[in-house]
């Protein structure tokens, strides 16, 4: 089966402006967070990005979805409108809105087409089925949900407009282990069912192994290793990857 490329990133440099400069100092320093990052994502593939905190994983995600526009290089996407699941499910749902409203919102602001009220509600029901939550939760506020349920809602919101590319930025790091397994299971099922490409960001190599086809290991804003998951885990090339595997207790 011929696979097509859905995302192609070439020689990407991402910068951070020192945004708080008004308060403390007048000079505006630019901090470079990513150096010459290039990779491709195939249709229906799960690419995992692994690395320690602060290595630029989230920066990369934010550049791809367009939250951080301050970059040089090329980000080419076949479909556009990628969606993202954030790390902390306690902060990524608007506490003043009910779950049903939150799920409908991506359709209300959809620029590609107008959704009627019936269509929206129909779609919300479909999604609730896919994220395996009962329909009576539509009337709840996020504060009345558990962490795992919230993360399901976040995934649901991201999937509302049928994106072809989903970026999951440490989606399970804030959850405890049993819930982690459930959410991973959900992501795997959705991936199989919908055939979307997923960029899965995590610092936990054990979690990465469960889901990914390819792994990209990053350190200090650079890619240090890229390859098929099994190859990388069996035969890591970079010293840093070996360290990470050792820390995760995977290599003997």
């Amino acid at each position: 089966m011929e696979k097509e490329t859905v995302l192609k990133v070439s020689s990407l440099d991402v910068f951070y402006k020192n945004r708080k400069r008004k308060l403390f100092s007048k000079q505006s320093k630019k901090i470079q967070a990513l150096f010459d990052v290039s990779f491709e994502v195939q249709e229906g593939e799960v690419l995992a990005i692994a690395g320690e905190s602060g290595c630029g994983k989230s920066t990369l995600a934010r550049a791809i979805v367009g939250i951080n526009k301050d970059y040089e290089g090329v980000i080419w996407q076949k479909y556009g409108d990628p969606q993202m699941v954030f790390q902390d499910p306690y902060n990524s749902l608007n506490p003043a809105k009910k779950v049903g409203w939150l799920l409908e919102e991506p359709l209300k602001v959809d620029k590609k087409r107008k959704w009627t009220k019936e269509e929206r509600q129909q779609r919300v029901k479909e999604i609730m089925e896919e994220i395996e939550l009962p329909l009576n939760m539509l009337e709840r506020y996020p504060s009345q949900l558990s962490g795992g349920q919230r993360q399901r809602v976040c995934i649901g919101i991201a999937l509302m407009r049928n994106p072809k590319l989903l970026i999951a930025d440490e989606p399970v790091s804030a959850l405890d282990v049993t819930i982690q397994a459930q959410i991973m299971e959900l992501l795997r099922n959705l991936h199989k069912k919908l055939g979307i490409s997923i960029i899965f960001i995590s610092h936990d190599l054990r979690v990465v192994y469960q889901i990914s086809d390819h792994v990209m290991v990053m350190k200090n804003g650079r890619i240090v290793e890229y390859g098929a998951t099994k190859d990388v885990y069996r035969n890591p090339q970079a010293e840093y990857t070996k360290q990470l595997l050792k820390a995760a207790g995977i290599t003997r």
Partner: protein
Amino acid sequence: MKKISFKKIIKDPYLAIGILIMGLVLLMIIVGFFWTPYDPTKMSASEKLQGISLRHIMGTDNMGRDVFSRVMYGSRVTLLIAMGTIIIGAGLGTIIGAVTGYYGGVIDEVAMRIIDALFAFPSILLALVIVSVFGVGWMQLVVSLGIAFVPSFARIVRGEVLRCKDMDYIQNARLQGVGSLRMIFVHILPNIKGVLASSILIGFNNAVLAEAGLSYLGVGSQPPYASLGRMLSDAQQYMFTRPSYVMCPGIVIVLMVLGFAFLGEGIKRWE
């Protein structure tokens, strides 16, 4: 978000007392719309400065007008002026604060410096300046007090918007393509409604006091029509000969302010 239930309201003493006091005051005002014991402007030379009696439960004033009728009428005027003030002040203040807080940058700097300048003015002085330019009357009073109340609301709302706008859920919404205006008014403002509600009630308080103060200075509603501040100012000459005349409107002002303060505190604790 908690459900509003009677039991919970009763459990919170602030909310319960606030609702009780405001209920009494509002009842008096609403009844005053349809019925007052006497015509609040009808003078009677034979019944000047009477004390508290069954005929006049708050006595009469220096022109023989029934004080209770005037209090009923005057607290309505005071409350309406305070409401107008808050609508202008909170409305403009919220819009200015939300927009400047959300966009930041140059707009924020410029608007906040203007707000700072307004803040530096005592609100009574500002109102006096506006009244002296546009003349005396309750419309001018509402507008001038409203403008004087803008800065504090703008400040509060701006701070809250700044706190909210970097939250993940706002970034998430931005990612879905939510436009700026929708973001401010649909996504951010509902999150600060608790803070806004309690500061509106505290503002109400200040507005009642400011109205009373300005009417006392003679720039509010004009005789023969009453407002609570106006009545205080008329009554002060007779403070010693007929204390009930000055005390009755004073007590109603105190009740109003207390009621709003308790309600505001109750709502703050409710959140």
